[in-house]
Assembly symmetry: C2
Homo-oligomer: 360 residues x 2
């Protein structure tokens, strides 16, 4: 038996198109293997336009239009005889479409987490599950959103917020179920890891940064990466989701890599060590919990750290991400994989959707 699970995509940029390509290519295989067919019933994108067909949109046509024209306006003319709505805004799409799950992948303001936070709340309040991939809303409002989802009996997943599709959160929550996670150390920002790897090869910080920008790893304004803000947001998510914390990004003890010199790199090398920008999450034993009852004293830092070459994170080179979970029963378990990318983040959504189907 194959069930149909209906999706509304809020945003149809890189991640949404990556997801659509995956669903097109693997739809039959997913139905065979997992007994589910994901059907995109709505797409709502501020720039490209908005479409809703309760019986399912044609993904190949959507992808073709988005690539050729950057707009979805011509879709209706290509699909005569369908009960099609166009022009619904994101909130109306979330509330009034017949989607089972809202995939929130719109442009998001990092400071406020909006409009993603309101989108996810509207999904839960309409009895729909939500998946997102932008770290901002989860770093800012995880607890509130998780409680709202639980109150409405729906599911909230966001694997793509940390290490893109590499299943870091699923590993910790499901595959390591029954283990207590005592500490997390991660290389959670590929741009800075690429720069540090290049510096070990002798390139200066400025040259390595320029090359990262040329390759598309770093933004024109590299602040979020090199000053550790991106890694700090991810550390907050791991702390709050996996270790019961109540941290905000401002609580993270944060130092970037922008002060590191080739002399620092050489000194580490001479000592058999290697600089990595390590995000660390741990519990402060005996820490007063303060007014928030369930706070477990989770703390986080992001800082350049000299690791011995034998450390499981020391060998992680280039734009790759990795995360070491120190557990009570298994000691250290390390997951290494991609931390960004169009298909990788598209897969993050698919993995979350398969988990929602499994758990719902």
């Amino acid at each position: 038996m194959t069930i149909t699970h209906k999706l509304a995509l809020i945003g149809f940029g890189t991640v949404g198109q990556g997801l659509a390509e995956i669903l097109l290519a693997k739809g039959d295989a997913l139905a065979d293997r997992y007994g589910v067919r994901f059907q995109v019933v709505a797409v709502s994108d501020l720039l490209k336009g908005s479409l809703y067909d309760p019986a399912g949109l044609n993904l190949a046509a959507l992808l073709d239009l988005a690539r050729r024209t950057g707009k979805l306006h011509d879709y209706a003319g290509q699909q005569p005889g369908r009960a099609l709505q166009s022009g619904w805004d994101s909130l109306r799409t979330i509330r009034e479409s017949n989607a089972d799950t809202v995939v929130e992948i719109s442009w998001t303001d990092v400071q406020t987490g909006q409009p993603a936070i309101d989108h996810v709340k509207a999904a839960f309040e309409s009895g729909k599950n939500a998946v997102l991939t932008n770290k901002g809303p989860v770093a800012l409002a995880y607890r509130e959103l998780a409680e709202l989802a639980a109150a409405h009996g729906v599911l909230f997943r966001f694997e793509g917020t940390v290490m893109s599709g590499t299943p870091t959160i699923r590993l910790a929550q499901n595959a390591l179920a029954g283990c207590e996670i005592r500490e997390i150390q991660g290389i959670l920002n590929g741009t800075t890891n690429y720069i540090l790897t290049q510096m070990e090869g002798g390139q200066s910080y400025a040259d390595a940064l320029a090359e990262a920008q040329r390759l598309g790893y770093a933004e024109a304004d590299p602040t979020a990466d090199v000053e550790g803000w991106d890694a700090a947001g991810k550390a907050v998510i791991l702390a709050n989701v996996l270790m019961g914390g109540t941290l905000r990004v401002a609580d993270v003890d944060r130092t970037g890599i922008n002060g590191l010199t080739l002399a620092d790199v050489a000194a580490a090398k001479a000592a058999g060590e290697r600089w990595k920008l390590v995000a660390r999450v741990w519990r402060e034993a005996g820490e007063a919990a303060g007014p928030i009852v369930a706070d477990t004293g989770a703390r986080a830092s992001v800082r350049p750290t000299r690791l011995p070459l034998s450390h499981p994170l020391a060998g992680v080179a280039g734009a790759v991400n990795a995360c070491t979970f120190t557990t009570d029963l298994l000691g250290d378990v390390t997951l290494v994989g991609p931390g960004a990318g169009r298909m990788e983040t598209g897969y993050a959504v698919l993995g979350d959707l398969l988990e929602i189907v499994r758990e719902a």
Copy 2:
């Protein structure tokens, strides 16, 4: 709400006692977090004796007796007024106890997989799930056992057969759901990885082997480890379970590390490489499937391999295990963790049990 899930332990050696310690220490936490309390109703061990209490045995008393006397005989006298059976053999325990799941952790003949295979079959035929940690039965009879479990509507789990409790199979089957696994490369034998790490430090093969034996990593007869039989059995499990193969251990193209010299190690080092005993599983494209309909052409090899230092497995040092999954959507995803140990393998069982509860 907390459900009770009843267990019969077939075997009460290292792994069984490790599991019992974990259940004693974490029983309340597991009930809180996962809503399940695991209750050991039966223990049947060829040497220590056999007990069955449909309302649950006292784990602390069992552990104390096993440690002090090596026997369970005195248990009845310590627990007056209980409806206790003693002396049931393993098959009677499996068939007639009220256990939901049989944990098969008895001594197993590597060549025949017995008596574990018969134990697991009896469990399925009595409508009970089965968990095991010995690789032999899964390497020899995975397909037959999986089909029998499905026919009886029960579950079969064996995470502990590869990388002990490090959740290799759960990562591939659940956390990476939706990805196609195209190739697997693993360091699946800790003993040989320890020996190779020592040889890189300048120790001869013979000295490194002797040290591994002194530390308890290697058996007095190290054949199974150093000739690659152990890794080959694990490769067969990964091939047959994760890639639809129908391999037997004899089908694995297998070379051990016993021919490697310090000169070989030095030559690799000079070339910026490192020897690892790599188990590899891949699909032979276009391979004739033969009479077995579902065979996918999965093939496996175990052989000493020179890896560039940038390879995700190259940095895995000492008695640690690791596995790289090459996937269609994420590229390489690598999991690194312990490959042996009393608590680690005890946890393998707990992880499987939590999954059974989740899926049942």
